[in-house]
Symmetry: C2
Subunit: 452 residues, 2 copies
């Protein structure tokens, strides 16, 4: 006979209790930090297709197995490997000085002996687009757009076209090369790399980024001089096709094993830093979140799938491979999300949920609100590697992180472990564990994602 004071928790209360339990467990765990530390110390840089990338794949498989995931497997992803090589830029006249430069990802090389040409400076890509061939032909174009700092990193989207499209726009007007002011919010001599694109119909020219401090210096030269000659020598090269892998670890659901809660990050990084913020942090956060849910609450009801994507940096290559490989089962994904914005604390939850279902996740919103995290919009794309999923009907969320300092380090040699504050990544770990617990162990179902 049941005692008189037996009280059964409502589903709402039960999910709050579960989230509270994983939060408490997370507050006693430094697993996310230890995972990113292991990745950065034992593997370090891991540009797609490189030896470091291959070591990262082996590391990820071993780490997921070591943590006790039920299933650990890989998906082959074909990637083009690109090697940065030597890069040198210097003002030849009137004020001889070296400039810190790095090649943009995918750039062709200069001729072996380099390029020597006058520089023409533009405030932004728009000004370049409006320039004449007479102003640009034969010259090195310098795109000098400053990036402002903010929590959401919203200025990145405004400035990054310099990096992605600068070479094509400059080449259309006959430029020999393009250099950009680094897309970054630091003032330092770290140059920020990142992917750039060519257009098959436009001549390919070399493209590099100079540090913000060097951009200031070059700009200052233009205050008193109009004829500035630069020499540029970059020996980047395509290094052929390689096989990389999405690495996937699962805790199989007990009640609804076919329903998937997909939490993700990307395993690759650029080649100069150790990829701590981008995206070792994400790897640590989602791996630890899944592990904490399993450890604290037991086997989840739905399957929790951790996807560590390959080759995000060169164009979401692993993510598109995932979609192709899983095209018949995408509708089983209850929710997908990626952590790929460093380790700053989470301040907002954005969703892309069926509007009719959205307010049925009240327990989740309450639990997050208790941590100071507000509910945001219902129009997110969920992060780079899941951004193509809403079009397939897959609901996504974004746990938005404080990115005030993210673009100080993004895509530089200075993206290293010391930039991650243990207390910040632990907050992320707690929130991701709570969200994962809620999505895996309740009946909440936000499918399909609204088409905007």
């Amino acid at each position: 006979m049941a005692p008189a004071n037996t009280y059964e928790l409502s589903p709402y209360e039960a999910s709050l209790a579960q989230m509270d339990a994983v939060k408490k467990a997370s507050q006693n765990s430094d697993l996310s930090y230890e995972v990113v530390k292991s990745l950065t110390v034992e593997v370090g840089p891991r540009i797609p297709g490189s030896a470091g990338d291959k070591r990262a794949v082996a590391w990820a498989e071993a780490k997921l197995n070591e943590l006790g995931f039920d299933k650990v497997y890989k998906q082959a992803v074909r990637v083009r490997n690109w090697e940065r090589g030597f890069a040198d830029a210097r003002v030849v006249s009137p004020f001889p000085q070296e400039l810190v430069i790095t090649a943009l990802g995918g750039s062709i090389a200069t001729p072996e002996k380099g390029i020597e040409a006058p520089v023409v400076m533009f405030a932004d890509l728009e000004s370049l687009t409006q320039a004449s061939s007479a102003e640009v032909a034969g010259k090195i174009v310098f795109l000098n757009t400053r990036m402002q700092r903010d929590r959401a990193g919203k200025f990145y989207g405004r400035v990054v076209p310099n990096r992605v499209n600068g070479a094509v726009q400059a080449a259309k007007l006959g430029a020999q090369a393009v250099i950009i002011r680094s897309v970054g919010t630091d003032n330092s001599r770290f140059a920020h790399t990142g992917v750039m694109r060519y257009d098959d119909d436009v001549a390919k020219i070399p493209a590099g980024a100079i540090s913000t401090a060097d951009a200031d210096n070059l700009e200052a030269m233009f205050e008193t001089q109009s004829d500035i000659v630069l020499s540029l020598n970059m020996q980047a090269k395509e290094a052929g096709w390689q096989t990389s892998y999405n690495v996937i670890g699962e805790f199989t659901g007990t009640e609804k094993p076919d329903e998937i809660v997909l939490i993700s990050a990307h395993l690759d990084s650029w080649d100069e830093g150790t990829g701590a913020l981008d995206d070792g942090a994400g790897v640590g956060i989602v791996t630890a979140a899944a592990k904490l849910v399993k450890e604290t609450l037991g086997q989840p009801k739905r399957t929790v799938r951790v996807v560590l994507y390959a080759a995000e940096e060169i164009g979401l290559v692993g993510a598109y491979q995932y979609v192709r490989d899983n095209k018949d089962t995408l509708e089983n994904i209850i929710m997908a999300a990626e952590s790929d914005f460093g380790a700053g604390q989470i301040y907002q939850l954005d969703t892309r949920f069926d509007p009719a279902a959205r307010m049925q996740a009240g327990a989740l919103y309450q639990a997050l609100e208790d941590m100071g995290i507000t509910l945001g919009n219902n129009t997110t794309n969920g992060g780079p590697d899941v951004s193509m999923l809403p079009a397939q009907g897959v609901p996504v969320i974004a746990l938005r992180q404080d990115g005030t300092y993210y673009f100080d380090y993004h895509h530089t040699a200075n993206d290293t472990l010391d930039k991650i504050k243990p207390e910040d990544i632990q907050q992320n770990q707690s929130v991701w564990a709570m969200v994962t617990a809620f999505m895996a162990n309740t009946d909440f179902d936000p499918r399909p994602a609204p088409q905007l």
Copy 2:
């Protein structure tokens, strides 16, 4: 006939009025910033004896002439030029990764094909000194001492022996090379260079500094691994004797032209940054201070001599040359001082004045106190390039600057103009102009400097 209310200022009041006038003039002038901007943009790096150093000398002569100094002249200084060359360090096993390294100033090269050897880590130079040959012989020594941040930079003196003496201590025990954790307070991947020494009785081994982030990484590898093999290849070289110059500008005194107020900075810099904080800031501050005194108050009563020393970084070479060249007139220096600690705001005046005379400078102390600057001790050496003068009886002062962030950038590629806040260097300019006005236009005479 004089009006009834004629009131003659006391000497005390007159000197306060003069200091107030130059302070007001300074607050409307950005000359110190413009001078360091001109030096860093138009010259940039200027390691002693290099082409950049020669351009710096020409720049300094031209700048002092342009600013209207009465006399501008040079003192030849023989310097050994050293070229940094290529430097590469990488963990070979168990975790292959590149480390950011730079050669210490004066280091010999590795053999052309580099060195590959196990690493042995020590917490500090003291621990190395107590180690046995068996622990060290044939290995690469890694000195991993952290530097703490503080306003006065007092931890520099505790950590810098790693850099200066590490190679000798390691070589005594048979090490093949030494690498140190950079002497710096940043967490970044900039390696900090700086001068090191050999001992004629001890084998010379190559010496480099790795960045603090790389030191963290290497230290983390030691947490799980004891056998760490490093490869090291540095191709620094001695590049022969060259002539550099102290560049000197004067405003000749009207009443006591033989009495000298010597304010100084050093013109040379290390070769990776543009030498903005070290010591372009000092060059801007003392040059602007002298010019503002002349411009505001007219020709000074005593001679104001601005000395821009050569080759400070490699051992105060220009400063010792100055002493030799002026050995018969050092007693005419009323006071000497150097600005060589960046551009942080001044918070304290230290002196080395004849104790009997010291409190006769009350007007100066009052004017500085009104700016929040306290009177400190009477035991300063005045700064590197004037530190040998008190022994010759020359009084010195130190205008102590906030150095909280100085060692983030010191001796790195990141020592660039953007690190100087215009409002901070302007405060320095004001204080130096006030001190210069006081020393040049009053009868205050703190000679001789006390021997401590």
